[in-house]
């Protein structure tokens, strides 16, 4: 898992590993993090997630070794 910008500051780390049951979806990962408590409260329920560099949906199934990035609202340009 990668956390950027305000999420990185909120979580207190830019990079972290997590173990999930086989077949877990993006939405399961978000619930899992929220259940771990305080430091993940910076991630909104509707947090945007990219899996292996592609914006993904809550129903996307995760696989072993996937790079999951939590993307705060973007502010380029």
């Amino acid at each position: 898992m990668l956390f950027f910008a305000s999420y990185r500051e909120g979580v207190g780390s830019g990079r972290m590993d997590v173990r999930l049951p086989i077949g877990a979806k993006v939405s399961d990962l978000i619930s899992e993090l929220h259940s771990k408590g305080e430091k993940f409260t910076c991630l909104p329920d509707s947090v945007v997630v990219a899996v292996n560099h592609v914006y993904s949906e809550p129903v996307t199934t995760l696989n072993d070794g996937d790079e999951v990035a939590f993307i705060p609202p973007v502010a380029g340009g």
Partner: protein, 149 residues
């Protein structure tokens, strides 16, 4: 002939313009985004751009590919700078050339709008009064739907 880069060094806008142009093209456009000294009324002294670099590169390539197919020119160059920038530094440059001006205007505008919407880049502003804060951003669409032409 497209050119896409995420860099940490200063951008020279004229260099970006050199990537485009052809004997068939009558219209060249260069857009240059610059760090300005204010935001929402607060004086700014500098900014830091953070990016999800690998993804940013591929999103930028994707945006350029979409512009190519929508506006019919492959002469497109775009460079985005991350890291610490001061007032007047160039953060982004987009160059497009095409046969007629219509395509260049539309393609360069499209690229900038899409960068704002979905490039995984974040900006922390450092204010003159000592505060610092992440600029309010836009939520990227989870599933990208490309508008039909």
């Amino acid at each position: 002939m497209s050119f896409v880069a995420i860099v940490r060094q200063p951008i020279n806008p004229s260099d970006i313009l050199q990537h485009v142009g052809s004997e068939e093209d009558g219209a060249n456009i260069l857009f240059v985004g610059v760090v300005r000294n204010h935001n929402d009324g607060f004086p700014v002294k500098g900014v830091r751009y953070e990016a999800y670099e690998k993804m940013a590169k591929s999103v930028l390539e994707e945006i350029v590919m979409e512009a190519r197919s929508q506006f019919g020119t492959d002469r497109i160059a775009t460079t985005y700078r991350i890291g610490n920038l001061v007032i007047g530094d160039v953060s982004v440059a987009v160059a497009v050339s095409s046969h007629h001006r219509e395509q260049s205007f539309l393609a360069s505008r499209f690229i900038m709008e899409e960068i704002k919407k979905r490039l995984p880049v974040w900006k922390k502003e450092f204010y003159v009064d000592g505060r610092e804060d992440w600029t309010e951003g836009l939520t990227p669409p989870s599933v990208l739907v490309t508008e039909p032409k």
